[in-house]
């Protein structure tokens, strides 16, 4: 499955091996891993809970992959996103894009992450020394997603 939402951790090597299996036309494998850090907005974070909207989240992620396939010539692409309770240094999200050439694989990987950040229904709640708080969305994420409008191809 090109889209997975799961509480379990993932292994980037195994994921890329499975995605590349049986293909000899791949010239570029671009990947991104989002990791939980132990600070945000000026305070320590000891725990992160990720909530999602079952059904819509998978559909939104698939739509983002479909759009990436429409913009670049990709052999395949994958998103794995974790939900549930995470600790600092835990992996959160994996994106992999396969293409014949690096420009397309790298651009698609960045595009998928930018759109995931603003369109896929996930929400983060942080535990800090001062208590729990929901993470606020950032204007910089909207700007990052906005740069793909108008057909710009960095």
């Amino acid at each position: 499955m090109p889209v997975r939402v799961q509480p379990e951790d993932f292994d980037i090597s195994a994921e890329i091996r499975a995605l590349r299996a049986g293909r000899n036309d791949v010239g570029a494998v671009a990947s991104f891993i989002g990791v939980m850090r132990d600070f945000n907005e000026g305070s320590g974070v000891t725990e992160l809970t990720l909530e999602h909207y079952p059904g819509m989240t998978e559909k939104a992620l698939q739509q983002i992959l479909d759009e990436a396939h429409g913009r670049w010539r990709l052999q395949d692409a994958l998103v794995v996103h974790r939900v549930g309770c995470l600790r600092p240094a835990d992996q959160i999200v994996l994106v992999v894009a396969l293409s014949a050439h690096r420009e397309e694989a790298l651009a698609a990987c960045a595009f998928i992450m930018d759109y995931l950040k603003t369109r896929a229904p996930f929400w983060k709640k942080e535990r800090t020394p001062a208590g729990e708080r929901w993470v606020e969305s950032r204007a910089s994420d909207d700007e990052a997603a906005g740069r793909w409008l108008g057909g710009e191809r960095p």
Partner: protein, 86 residues
């Protein structure tokens, strides 16, 4: 008269104190935007959270919807804050 299945997520679910409910819409509530305004008239936290100045996302049948999106009987409508995954 349309009946919709409402879902609430993340901070909105906590502040409003509700996860899901089935709603029979009055005849003058026919769009996503009208539904939001109608729910805001419940007052208290509903009025605060669904105030037009607050950023609230609406999804209809698993797709993000604009305020003008028409609602139909049996729709699943979700209200949630801007997303923060990744």
């Amino acid at each position: 008269m349309a009946t919709v299945q409402m879902l609430y997520f993340a901070r909105l679910r906590e502040v409003l104190g509700i996860e899901r409910e089935r709603l029979v819409l009055p005849d003058d509530v026919t769009t996503a935007g009208e539904l939001r305004a109608w729910l805001a008239r419940r007052g208290d936290a509903w009025a605060v959270e669904l105030d037009p100045k607050r950023q609230v996302r609406i999804a209809v049948n698993h797709d993000l919807a604009g305020a003008g999106q028409a609602l139909a009987d049996g729709d699943e409508v979700a209200l949630f804050p801007p997303v923060t995954g990744g």
